[in-house]
Amino acid sequence: MNIIKQTLTNMRQQPLLTGLTIAGTALSICLIMIVMMTREAQIIDYGCEPYRSRTLYATKMILKMKNGGYSSGSMQMKPIRELFAKLKSPERIALFSPMISSVNVNMQGRDNVQAKAKAVNAAFFNVFPMKFIEGRAFTQEECNSNMPIAIISQKTCRDIFGQDKDLKGRTFLIENHEYRVAGIVEDVSPLLTSAYSEIWVPVSTVPGVAHPLGNTVNPEYSMRVALLAKSSADFSKIKNETERALAAYNKSISPDTLDLMEQPDIQEMYVNREWSNKAPDLTEIHLHYALIFAILLIVPAINIASMTQSRLRQRKEEIGIRRAFGARRSTILMQTVTESLLHTLASGLAGLLLCFAVCFMLGNYIFPYSTFEEITDKQLDADILFSPEIYGWALLFCLLLNLLSNIVPAWRASRSNIVEALK
């Protein structure tokens, strides 16, 4: 307790330096947290995508043709039907189209509404569970029979019908095709790029025609697969089975070849797979982040080191007197370490508050647009903000920062010659 009282008094005696140290570290923590959060938002399990850590994805493909040409682009329904749909090791196989950014929806007598839509299969709602307010997800039989049913988010229900309950069975038009409401779900956060949409309609998984959904995207040529494994330990099993199935598929389409470019992907590869003819280089991406964190830590560390040095130089006299009266070197050191800890706590708190403030005020600006999707507004989910994991990491970084920059000057100060100090 004594040490803490002592430290607090010391801090109060040099308000500017203490303030600057805390401010610098708080800023670092805030930025580290924001950088981590923007990355984690894409990777950790949360919300309607609670199984990201045990899901593998396939979204792109290259078809190499016998005359040397090749066409690369989104995964298509043909390889999905003949390769992925036949896999046995995944627990579930979900299909979802890329976001169809605006479909025209209307009810008789009401204005046209532009909504976002996705064509999905029944297993989609097992892999990306959503909270149903009314009704339920489609069954596979309903999907297979091409039933014109739709699941709508609450907000879109209000836009289309003017209300968000008692709508089960009501009919409406999507791109001039009649659909029936099968269920209403709670709004999904746009940050959950796989699950997010405003309307979900079935896509058939038997050979045949995918349900028409406007002229913008044809699900036959643009579809994504999510393979839910029983646990991440099963990933190698699934990948092996995929490789065998790929070999068999290539035999069947020879002389053309299908190249999956290392898919099916784990979540982190999946969100970074920007180009349809090149696998993402995770090492490069990790190096990028490492460099960013290094800079976020080194620059403030230098600041704190030099300020600590000045602070301790000022207290040389005090330390000299204390040493003359018998204080041990270890006590002096302990005091500096305690000061580090207190600074860390204070900056940790300040950094956290600053981070909240920034996220709430500028949330729309800092979360990155996912490549080639047309999602234009990202709201921050309260779920991410309160993840103790991320905060724990940030605090750890901060502690390391403070300790690193305080230890050397503190050690040197405690070793200083008493006579020199008292001069």
């Binding site: 500017l16 401010a23 001039n176 976020l296 030099s306 080639f372």
Partner: protein
Amino acid sequence: MNNKRKNIGRRYSYILHQIWNERRSNWAMMAELLIVSCVVWYLVDCAYVIVTRAMEPLGFDATNCYRLDVSKFDESSVGYDTAHPDSMEINIADFLALADRLRHDADIEAVGYSLRNDPYQGMSYSTEIHYDTLPTSARMILCNPDFLKVFRYRGANGETPGQLAAMLKNGNVLLSHQAFGKEYDTNKLIGKEMKVGISFGSNDTLPRRIAATFMPVKRFSREEITKQKSFILPATNEAMHQMIYSISLAIRVKENCAQGFSDRFRQKISGKQLRVGNYYVNGFHSYGELKRNSEAKQDTNMRYYTVAIVFLLVNVFLGLLGTFWLRTQHRFPEIGLQKAIGATNTDITLRLLTEAILMMTIAFLPSLIIDFNIAHANLTEYYQGETLATGRFIICAAISYVLMMLIIALGIWFPALRATKANPADVLRGE
């Protein structure tokens, strides 16, 4: 005259000596300034490339223009018109009639349709073109003549959009300026024939007469204009057979009708006036909106660069504040003495500022060497094929230097104010 110069020289050498003497406590500050200078330069360079590309001429003008969403009723749709069954000839006829109806609208100045060649389209078709034995790969623009009026393409020799449109007839092709590279002046090719490989699956090379050249046109606002090679072919009936399922429709609104156009047009859409057979317009997007969407990712990156630069500069600011605050306190005796001799407050402030700027410049010079090496190692963005160009390097280094200077000035402000409070009387009392 000579004396004045000597005095200034003495002042600088005095400050430099002081910096050297205090090097133990200066090392941290200098190291930080070095690192921050390097990183700030890198970020400024990234931003420079984005901004320079954005400032290049677009080659087209899409103000007051809109892309129309055209949908088609099919057999399972509610409202399908059985009198217009799904056949190529009927589809083409209906689409063209729809375009014609739009052309006669009072608000609309011109209607253009193309093989997804309007701006901000993700798809493009490239093929090889040949003049004599000289090949190059170029983007194909397949459109009706009015398309050039909608987007106001300009001729390389001053032709207006209307004149270019008039030249877009059967057997003709329009070629972008210097499509074969800077060494081959395309002006000399006007009137000559070039071969175009049509990329609709067949390998026919049709000879076409180059009627005129036009100023290069970007697809997206942030591309590089020097890479834009393209050629324009007219959308003949035969071409329509290939285009009809991948066609995009755009309109230019008359300038004096721009006010309130959105509402009027939306009414026409819901009033079902814009339907011919099974083709109908069911939405529209302004090119301003499409431009912003396409720039979104880079704009986010620019935001990150700004945040990073601000973060680094704030750290430098805090560091400077901390270092010089204490230093000023230690130097009170010295400052008091200077004031007693006759230095004014401005002199004191300037002395402190000079010290900080000299420190920063000394740290900046090695950072320039590091920056040069980073650019030389191709670790920065490519612009016009290079990562290291004299003009670009000098401008980015200058911007970084100015940013650092500004933050130094800000960081010295409070310590300087404090320094001026040194009272000669107090100091001399102590002596």
